[in-house]
Symmetry: C2
Subunit: 434 residues, 2 copies
Amino acid sequence: MALWLDAADADFESAFKELISMKREVSTDVGTVVDGIIADVRKNGDAALAAYSARFDSVDFSNPATPMRIGEDAIEAAVAEVDPKVIAALTLAEKRIRSHHARQLPPDDFYEDEIGVGLGHRWTAVEAVGLYVPGGTASYPSSVLMNAVPAKVAGVERIVMVVPAMKGAVNPAVLAAAKIAGITEIYRIGGAQAVAALAYGTETIAPVAKIVGPGNAYVAAAKRAVFGIVGIDMIAGPSEVLVIADGDNNPDWIAADLLAQAEHDEAAQAILITTDAALGEAVDQAVERQLKTLPRSNIAGASWRDFGAIITVPDLDAAMPLANRIAPEHLELAVADPDALIPKVRNAGAIFAGHYTPEAIGDYVGGSNHVLPTARSARFSSGLSVLDFVKRTSILRLGPEQLNKLAPSAIELAECEGLGAHAKSVAIRLNSKG
Amino acid sequence: MALWLDAADADFESAFKELISMKREVSTDVGTVVDGIIADVRKNGDAALAAYSARFDSVDFSNPATPMRIGEDAIEAAVAEVDPKVIAALTLAEKRIRSHHARQLPPDDFYEDEIGVGLGHRWTAVEAVGLYVPGGTASYPSSVLMNAVPAKVAGVERIVMVVPAMKGAVNPAVLAAAKIAGITEIYRIGGAQAVAALAYGTETIAPVAKIVGPGNAYVAAAKRAVFGIVGIDMIAGPSEVLVIADGDNNPDWIAADLLAQAEHDEAAQAILITTDAALGEAVDQAVERQLKTLPRSNIAGASWRDFGAIITVPDLDAAMPLANRIAPEHLELAVADPDALIPKVRNAGAIFAGHYTPEAIGDYVGGSNHVLPTARSARFSSGLSVLDFVKRTSILRLGPEQLNKLAPSAIELAECEGLGAHAKSVAIRLNSKG
């Protein structure tokens, strides 16, 4: 059974504070190990990658069946293994993700202001991006699409995928997703060593400019360490959902949505806020019922027991400030009129509106991105989009007339800041010919 | 004298590679110290801030003249000290920065696709932002405007400024800039302890959601450490300029621009690429001449000697790939037709077009932002803008008909990924009533 809170209770505020500041992740201090691995890869390149892969993944790159780079033939062979229904679903997903993300391409801008100064910017794609794909059971083909398609839409020319391959094996559906997304450069490497190779390059792997994709504590620490040398996406934490429901809901549907989140990870969090205590009660019972038949019921059960919560509120308006403090990765609005609530959402990665939009649709084929800010980071960051794969160059253009008008203020400020050469670079153009 | 390279030389490629991979910053390993300071502030709050400020900044918060928070009266008193010409210049700068950044507010989007799925997003402002302002000679009023104005334009409700105050004193022009930008919450704290206070909060300082602004190695390490708890902007490195010049230029103007960059910091870098060796020669001589009279000639001279370079190329087209590999923070196009080159720029923080746009105008009153990606990070990141202070919530909305169409593919992929509860949360809506 999950935690029950009632917003009308006297001690609600302190209990709610405790809920949102709950530390769900076991923090592992892997910094020193990771720094050592990065230094080794920078120094020894491919040889270091081979050694770490032998040690951690039991894979031998000198075996012709499992070279570091996964060849085109191997990709094709893997794709042929995958159920055609999965291929069809991935193809549909790719098409829908691509078409939605195409609307995110930001426009260039250039204009002259009232004194004739030209101001503007141009957007260009990052030239090369590394995509980290976890191994094992967290090796999700859908994540390959969600990371790669926005990069493709942005115009990234080179996408390099890395994926750890225990005993050389890679999930064939992951390779199929890569092929559908148009990725051709794939290496059988993982962990901090793969991040280091992407950031600094080796004899075989040319360095990239940005690294995206989820990973374990070592991968996260390595991304944090190379941040600045390359760009990185967010550091992903355990997943979470908040469902806001009025009384007019099927409790089984809500329970299924809560459990879909909880099954990800024992550290995942599923919260229901409802105006109807009876619905809350019914959902709680439905969760227990459904847990009995779920394939991943151990994981989902632990998450629900340790981090799940049901909160009752007097009305939907009272739910919104709580939702914004939770700042959930996923926010389901299981209410009659979701459009009335949407403008009141300040902090959330993604909104799933109405009774027929289970979050799982967004994980796969909705078209929007499933890489979203976790652990309350929706307070300051956004889900993955085309914007993560482009950068802006600003443009400024003055003629002699504009320079004459702005020069005195620029010189005043440069001198106030003690930057004489700044002042001179402006002043010199007023007193001599170009 | 700076390094001379000729693109026609046989060993050019290796010399150029060395130039762009030059490490200009002395890396200081301050991680352990910073981790300790952060833990202390988390545990001891205001008391830790008072102790560090006494130790590092020789300021006593219990002295009524120098409390931790700088009161409105103290701000007013500081503003009254500042030369009215500086106030006027800051006011003009604020107005121009605000008017330009107002164009950066990104639009919301919502549409129905061809099967009736509703897709879109809404942008909302980050609620609270911390602005770090360095102390000492690097305490620039212009930087206060460049960081605060985009946040204000974005709609950030609370901006918290922190600035270390040696013996309690803060640059009055910095306080004037804060007032002009509309910042009212200012604390006399700096270093890793200030970053920790902004990220985690203390008894006096409520935590923020994002921290921006430049700082020394301790500040940078602290920002890296709290990344994830809060958002951060880029980790700024030493500044750089690349000037691309054809033969038809006044060498004194170009020299002045190179030195305006070089005077920032001994680790700053100024590079000239020119099609005309004679101009290069003349610029080199002009630099030496101007160095004799510059107030910061020691700094500028060291930067030019250690990191400056003049590169000759056969034509302007040959300059562009080199510029994109350098990925400069500032790119001046001192050529007859800058518009012909702009589309060829792939990696640069900002372009200054034509002979009458010295970079220093952009530092102060051009209207564009002077917080730009350094150390080749223009390959993957952009200058500061309104986008850094907003975040996007995506929206997905299906009705029963759309769910029926997409459900089979979603279920297929969920099952392929071993996520049974995901599949169930979709399937259950096909078989029962909501």
